[in-house]
Symmetry: C2
């Protein structure tokens, strides 16, 4: 019988696991939040991932549980593990992706370079941190933020007063506002048995808090940067016991330091380039990792790969018309769609282009994506 992998969550990350699952011969099953989700083709169950009974019933028919997102509650995850279900990444690892304060504390223990940070429970504590850090900082809600949500740059504590008022005994995370030259991301795959494979560090470009473009490998990255980024990724994957794909978002600073910004324990937007640009794409690699199969080669297939997100916009014409125009003008562009209705700023797909000339690849990927924006 084929190996059965159950994915909790029916979004585009689950959708993009379908293609490699079919080729590998893995029976992929998805617990989707509702009808018509991105991963509908593989949806075998519908329901609330916060409901243990629903998740338990879904888990009964698969060999391993993994995720489209990091929002399944710890109580649900731990109940599954207690009942003998293989869950990857497991709750002990996933807590660090679910709570940014827990993550910061653990990275501090591990000695991983990161921005100065503090847990602050009130205006005075926050103001003290800001005063110590040049009168500015980044305030984050520890849980539930993504794509720039739950993140606020502040210059006085009053600017976070609303969040502080809602805390009910918890704390906010405040971080030093890092003066960075660019953002990078390091991806690592890790099997339960410990094998790890590193992707080359990439440059990510954010717009309005959302990933817009990725260049792989990071242009101008020398051997030192590649090595440092990979070492950080490996140390975190091992130190946090991550299984599956880990993405480490990094700041590169003016003074050539590399600091950890965020973590994701799943395939990540910064790794979409690898679908077409690496021997083993991140979605195949995630499946291999969570199923504890030997990992694939993460070597790039071309000198450069560029990923540009398609943010569904107000362009005229149907999605299909634009699809046709993009394909006609850019036959070398690999267009990936998420089966979502377009609305401004919503990630509805992405374009990958690989080649030996970075400028050409960037131009083509942007031009193809522009048909949809």
């Amino acid at each position: 019988m084929a190996l059965r992998v159950g994915v909790i969550g029916g979004g585009q990350l689950a959708r993009m696991m379908i293609a490699p699952a079919v080729e590998l011969g893995i029976d992929i099953r998805v617990l989707a939040e509702g009808e018509g989700m991105s991963a509908q083709l593989a949806a075998t169950a519908l329901g609330d991932y916060r409901d243990l009974d629903i998740v338990r019933a879904f888990a009964r028919d698969v060999d391993v549980i993994t995720f489209d997102h990091e929002h399944v509650p710890q109580a649900v995850l731990r109940a599954l593990v207690a009942e003998g279900v293989a869950v990857h990444p497991g709750p002990d690892a996933l807590q660090f992706a679910q709570d940014k304060l827990v993550m910061r504390a653990r990275l501090t223990e591990l000695g991983i370079p990161q921005p100065d940070w503090a847990a602050v429970a009130n205006v005075d504590e926050l103001q003290a941190f800001l005063d110590d850090h040049g009168g500015k900082g980044v305030v984050k809600t520890p849980r539930g933020g993504y794509d720039g949500k739950g993140v606020r740059v502040v210059r006085t504590a009053a600017e976070a007063a609303d969040w502080l008022a809602d805390l009910e005994g918890d704390a906010l995370l405040v971080e030093e506002l890092v003066s960075f030259t660019r953002e990078l991301a390091q991806q690592i795959a890790r099997r339960p048995s410990g094998q790890m494979v590193a992707y080359p560090v990439v440059e990510t470009v954010q717009r309005d808090g959302v990933c817009a473009e990725v260049f792989a490998p990071a242009p101008g990255a020398g051997e030192r940067l590649m090595r440092v980024a990979e070492a950080i990724g490996r140390q975190i994957a091992e130190g946090l016991g991550v299984t599956g794909m880990l993405a480490v978002e990094l700041f590169e600073t003016d003074d050539e330091r590399i600091l950890v910004n965020e973590l994701a324990m799943r395939p990540h937007n910064s790794g979409h380039w690898s679908q077409d640009g690496a021997v083993t794409g991140q979605f195949e690699q995630h499946l291999r990792a969570v199923a504890d199969l030997p990992l694939g080669d993460a070597t790039p297939r071309a000198q450069w790969s560029v990923m540009v997100n398609i943010l569904g916009g107000p362009a005229e014409g149907t999605f299909e018309d634009r699809f046709e125009a993009a394909m006609a003008e850019h036959p070398e562009a690999k267009i990936h769609t998420y089966g979502k209705s377009a609305r401004p700023g919503r990630k509805v797909g992405h374009v990958n282009v690989s080649g030996n000339d970075l400028d050409d690849a960037v131009y083509t990927a942007r031009a193809a994506a522009a048909h949809f924006a």
Copy 2:
């Protein structure tokens, strides 16, 4: 609403259309012959493809019909077309892939180089052809053969007496036994609107009448061979009105002639390398072509790509154990499985390997595939 492509037949070719369909955002639906077929994930209907009512009901909910195989009867295809269904390739083209005598006659009209051939209805006609061709020939049943079935090399007409006795007014095809140095295959994609894209000609290695290995591009192929093979492919695609993928199997002779052996109007075993080795794989290309979307770039991603079929054999251990061993030893091998139970000689998957060294790629692909044989 997403474009809906309906595939008749639930075999591995339909299965391998699923991955690119998901990425392109095409709603792929499969009419499978039964439960548990290779393309089960996308199966939305079950039934006999020779039954017009079943096929008509399936066609009602899709925008275009295409195929996993070439066995749907002309009567069914023509009824669909008469009712306004888009069918690609259409019956006018498909007849040339369904009947080798019709194909030979049409290629003769088009002036395409091919082996000497004749339609023979009895022992005397067959013996006369053999006598004219050095006392040997290849006898083929015009319809229904594949993977070496329905093909017999004979030295006297008596060796085909059983087939001749069953003819009931039809004829057999007899062809000159070509003295070839190797077999090649040329793939062409063609849209209904006429756009064509050619893949580089490849070398195919057959064992016991079944495709065993493919080297892409054909080693040692000079510009002349590439050009001649592509021209033959384009002329056939256009002359026969093919839509979708066309594979032209070719003989390369001692005296450097290129002769057409067989045709297939669908993705073909000789093109599996392109899934990982070309910018646009043949399964994506077929979907683009039958949906009349602009065709993708067919440029190889690497200097060499090698495909080795996995012929399910009597090896010890479970399929999963062998899968794990193959992955562990060959992380750069792309393993594709068809979800079929293994039995000796049955195609149950294939391995693609790309790289800049042909010998290395051949070694790795064979070694990975050998874990399954």
